[in-house]
Amino acid sequence: MRNQDPAQLIAGVRGGDRLRLAQAITWVENEHPRAVELLAALYPCGGGSHIIGVTGAPGSGKSTLVTALARAIRAAGQTVAIVAIDPTSPFTGGAILGDRVRMRALSGDPGVFIRSMATRGSLGGLSKTTGGVITVLDAAGFDRILVETVGVGQAEVEIASTAHTTVVVEAPGLGDEIQAIKAGILEIADLLVVNKADRPGADKTVQALAMMLELDGTHARPRRHHGRLVPDSQAATGTPAHAGQGESRDDARWRVEVLKTVASTEEGVETLRQRIEAHRDWLLETGEWTAREHLRAAHAVEALLRAELERRIRAQWAALDVRALVEAVAQRRQDPYHAAQRLLAGH
């Protein structure tokens, strides 16, 4: 049963066989020698899923919010897959993937599929193979795919080039106004959520985030051009609008909103789901969906290119005594710049 060929797995993924789907994901995660065949066959079948990234600091309640959001999505009659990512220990290679503990309310529902993934050494908040796993789930026909990143800090923004809609989760007491002004994770948000909004300080957190959005002026995620972030040429310097109202002065521009939720009681979660849907509608109406698909494709190709280049360079090292070279750098007999050049040159 475990010795599959790709055709069996492809048919299973396309035909709703959950065991084959799970095994296909394992192939992708383990970079099985034939995983590329599998992914190449499944890629053209995809494109139908709305991919929603949920990211935020550890302890902000991402898993509970994802669970509540998945229940709301199911109540709206759509199927949902969840990819929940937790960190791999850099020392042992092991991991504890604990997101399912908070997801028990979803068990027994055939319209839900949950997969836990370890980062296996990646640092961007996702794992190297998350994109491939999304390709499999997309081809399996899930209406919505929720991708929960590891608990992130300020720089793990990879999710923004993987998802169509990025939800950044904050919680009261995790940071002050200065944190909110810092660049990085808040800039990738299409929707900002203050979870645990029943706790003291929630309104202060909402205010701080709303103020940051007003300073930002555009209330919109920076656009990208040829892979670079560029300021919106129409960036408004005029009247700052109030965050949290939803309707924009300029209908063509998405305004980032600050929403309040209490995921444990599902308060505010249906509103969040509706705003995510509104973002999807906006993406489709403005052509931004196509732009983000382009960005996602560029990111995928670039990531694969990097992996292949790294593999080729490492293959060249077979003839080199890398340990001795590193030792020479450690003893300052060799400088790291020329050591790296030697590794690149392969001699």
Binding site: A22, Q23, N30, P33, F113, R115, A118
Partner: protein, 167 residues
Amino acid sequence: MNQQGQHSIEQAPDASAAPGPLDVAGATDTTPAAPRIRVLVAKPGLDGHDRGAKVVARALRDAGFEVIYTGIRQTPQMIAEAALQEDVDVVGLSILSGAHMTLCPKIIELLRNQGQSHVVVVVGGIVPEEDIPRLQAAGVYAVFGPGATTEAIAATLRQAVAAAQGQ
């Protein structure tokens, strides 16, 4: 079903499981890394004492396993469903309530019915000596009592998974 199957331990010789892009020093280790063993640690039944399960989960993480931890009060159906979605190699059941003779065969039956008879099932907790052969007859690979060391558990799981995958 197992003897023909070994897909998940095949590995391209160059597929690197290096912990990070800057792992220059580790690159001279040419041994191909085996895919991480995935273990579901679950606590079926009604007792809420999960300290043992958490200690084992932590120890397995430190031994390099990927542990999917599901928490307390899991039904056999919930455990089987999680084992399927996560495509695990091992299901570890922590049982202190004495209900092992009903819970374990039920879970093993559900795993078999969904096409996962290759999954290794082990039990940890308080199990009377005389029940161990009966559990093994029901398909439990090993039973770990309070004296079992975490090293022994990790070693047993590695062996069992290698055997189940036909190596």
